[in-house]
């Protein structure tokens, strides 16, 4: 499988920095152990392996684990038509990693969105502002410790200062809980009911 060969070639270049390629549902994932070198790995993947098309950048909040955040890069090559995923972990205290806007310009808005939603900063980004929330909003809503119901803010110039009226939404579900009141509570904060999954 050529995507696996690309992954092995990257591993051969960087050695210990890159984990063994993991395969799931036909997709290859590489873990970059040092977030500081992610831009370097991306630049090489683009220059030498023709991954010229950056599909997406995402972040995952592993609330309760250390390091807390994982940043996920979805790479694609339009000529060879293979997909490769790069992952790297970022700790909560530092919460910063180098930007890849120098490699692909499309990274600009994706990185702004991650900064906005999770609070992970990208060093060297040309314009790191909030993108979906408004300037001056104090929280990062996709973090797991931000409740679904929202948090009130008392900033004077903010358009929306009360939490959402549905108290967490009528359809909030924690699958696999013991009864329906626990499964679909009126409101749920990460502190009151941690997410349980079926074991």
């Amino acid at each position: 499988m050529p995507a696996l060969e690309f992954a092995r070639a990257i591993k051969a270049k960087f050695g210990e920095l890159i984990s063994e390629p993991a395969e799931f549902r036909g997709e290859v994932t590489l873990k970059v152990s040092d977030a500081e070198r992610i831009a370097e790995v991306c630049a090489l993947a683009k220059a030498e392996m023709n991954f010229d098309y950056l599909l997406d950048i995402t972040s995952v909040d592993n609330y309760g684990d250390d390091p807390r955040f994982t940043v996920v890069y979805e790479l694609y090559g339009l000529t060879h038509k293979f997909h490769l995923r790069l992952k790297t972990d970022v700790g909560e205290e530092k919460c910063e990693l180098p930007t890849v806007t120098t490699v692909w310009r499309t990274a600009n808005w994706h990185e702004r969105e991650i900064y906005d939603m999770m609070g992970v900063r990208f060093r060297g980004h040309p314009d790191l502002r909030r993108i979906l929330m408004w300037e001056g909003y104090p929280y990062h809503p996709l973090r797991k410790d931000f409740p679904l119901a929202g948090k009130p803010t008392d900033l004077p110039e903010v358009a929306f200062t009360k939490s959402a009226p549905l108290e967490g939404g009528p359809f909030v579900t924690v699958s696999g809980c013991k009864d329906s009141t626990v499964r679909e509570p009126r409101s749920r904060t990460p502190e009151s009911a941690p997410i349980q999954s079926i074991k």
Binding site: F24, R25, E27, T29, D52, Y53, L54, L55, D56, T58, V60, D61, V72, E74, L78, K81, H83, R85, W104, R105, T106, N108, W109, E113, M117, R130, I131, L132, M133, W134, P141, L142, F146, L148, G168, G169, F171, V172, T173, V174, S175, G176, S180, R183, R188, I195, Q196, S197, I198, K199
Partner: protein, 427 residues
């Protein structure tokens, strides 16, 4: 008797004085040292509620006269936190939210989301053939519907209202078909994880064929109105040119990428459903301007009609969902009479489908471009993280690169040709 006065002065100041004298009024003579406007930049706010921004896009433009020098798109006015909501519900419960992404093609979003979740569960190869054909029909109907609106709105923005009325008539017929199929005109929620919610109603195939015969005529009419229309060509040719390299670097997708001459279509590159068994061509542009993007959309609609005809001809019989009862809710009469189905029903409703831990990314060729879902699962019935790769979001990020150097009036042409939807961009 009225006297005709000729006022012919090259100097505007002298003209004002002369005109005032003729009219017999005393106007303050403008001072000789008018402020020098040259070199001054003006900041103009466009949107978020502007007819040409098709929703709530705001662009802050810096103008030098009529020429744009800088453009800052500002998105997020329709942000509803879909990704946060997805983390708090089962995979099936999120299907109605996908209707609200690209709300001009809800059927295609439903299909893309269902395929992503099925990929995570590893059941995407088990879909019955009839289900796959029905899903292709949904995707292509959605594509025609979305492109018709995109085309009509684009033409209206550059001054051709007739096309808009023409295309909206056809969209009405599509909505009738969708209503017969799903029970809703707009918020379809048609797919289920592992199938679709119901089979085609009786007589639907004939209705669809009838619609296709009519819509092809409509394509011809719209083309006659636009493709060789002098005004339309002047407004769109060599306007908003996106080079091949820029299109790839900004990761544009869909007709915007193909308009710039990149021959890339996920239906061909990574055929999902039964696209590998259907004959269709992928049009590409040569210049990458607004006119090319228009031509690509026009041809894509014809190809979609071609795909639809093949699907309706080849449509196999059989179940429309994976029939094991463990992925899709079993039929109600079986739930009420048989123990096993009752258990399946109970588990599916209370716990959702138990997904394996892992990461998947699935991208589908939607009308607006590549709609991708990245699902990070830690096991259980809810995703730990669900990220929506929205094509409109990515396509709009090129605005600050493409707009500078254009006239103010070209903004509407560029926006119309990029064909975005804010519901999807802001999620």
């Amino acid at each position: 008797m009225a006297t005709v006065h000729d006022i012919e002065f090259k100097d505007p100041q002298a003209r004002i004085v002369s005109a005032a004298a003729i009219a017999g009024v005393t106007t303050p003579v403008p001072s000789a040292d008018l402020p020098d406007m040259e070199g001054e930049r003006m900041v103009l706010n466009m949107g978020p509620s502007h007819p040409a921004t098709h929703g709530v896009l705001r662009i802050i433009l810096e103008l030098d006269g009529e020429i744009i020098t800088k453009a800052f798109p500002d998105v997020g006015y329709l942000h509803r936190g879909d990704e946060k909501i997805a983390e708090n519900m089962t995979y099936t419960q999120f299907i109605p939210y996908t209707d609200r992404l690209d709300y001009l093609a809800p059927l295609a979003n439903n299909v893309a989301y269902a395929l992503a979740v099925e990929k995570l569960h590893g059941i995407d190869k088990q879909l019955p053939p009839r289900c796959q054909y029905i899903r292709v029909i949904c995707c292509e109907l959605a594509r025609i519907s979305s492109h018709l609106l995109g085309l009509g709105a684009f033409a209206m923005d550059v001054g051709a209202l007739t096309v808009f009325l023409h295309t909206f008539t056809q969209r009405e017929y599509i909505y009738n078909l969708i209503e017969a199929l799903t029970g809703a005109r707009f918020t379809t929620s048609y797919t289920r994880i592992g199938g679709v919610s119901r089979d085609l109603p009786p007589g639907w195939v004939e209705q669809c064929r009838k619609f296709l015969d009519g819509v092809v005529v409509n394509f011809d009419e719209s083309e006659k109105l636009l493709t060789r229309n002098r005004i339309f060509m002047d407004r769109t040719r060599d306007v908003g040119v996106i080079s091949k390299a820029d299109a790839i670097d900004y990761a544009l997708s869909g007709p915007n990428l193909r308009g710039s001459g990149v021959d890339f279509d996920l239906r061909k590159a990574h055929p999902y459903l039964v696209y590998d068994q259907l004959k269709f061509e992928v049009p590409t542009g040569s210049v990458g301007d607004c006119y090319d993007r228009y031509l690509v959309r026009m041809e894509e609609m014809r190809q979609s009609a071609r795909i639809l005809h093949q699907c309706l001809d080849q449509l196999p019989d059989g179940p429309v969902s994976i029939p094991d009862g463990k992925t899709v809710l079993p039929p109600k009469e079986k739930v009420l009479t048989s123990m096993e189905e009752l258990i399946h029903q109970f588990i599916l409703v209370t716990q959702g489908e138990n997904a394996p831990p892992g990461d998947v990314y699935f991208g589908a060729e939607n009308p607006k471009g590549e709609l991708g879902f990245y699902i990070h699962s830690k096991g259980g019935g809810t995703p730990h993280r669900l990220k929506i790769r929205a094509p409109s979001f990515v396509n709009l990020s090129i605005l600050s690169h493409v707009l500078p150097g254009h006239m103010m009036s070209d903004v509407v042409a560029v926006l119309g040709s990029l064909d975005f939807v804010m519901g999807e961009c802001d999620r």
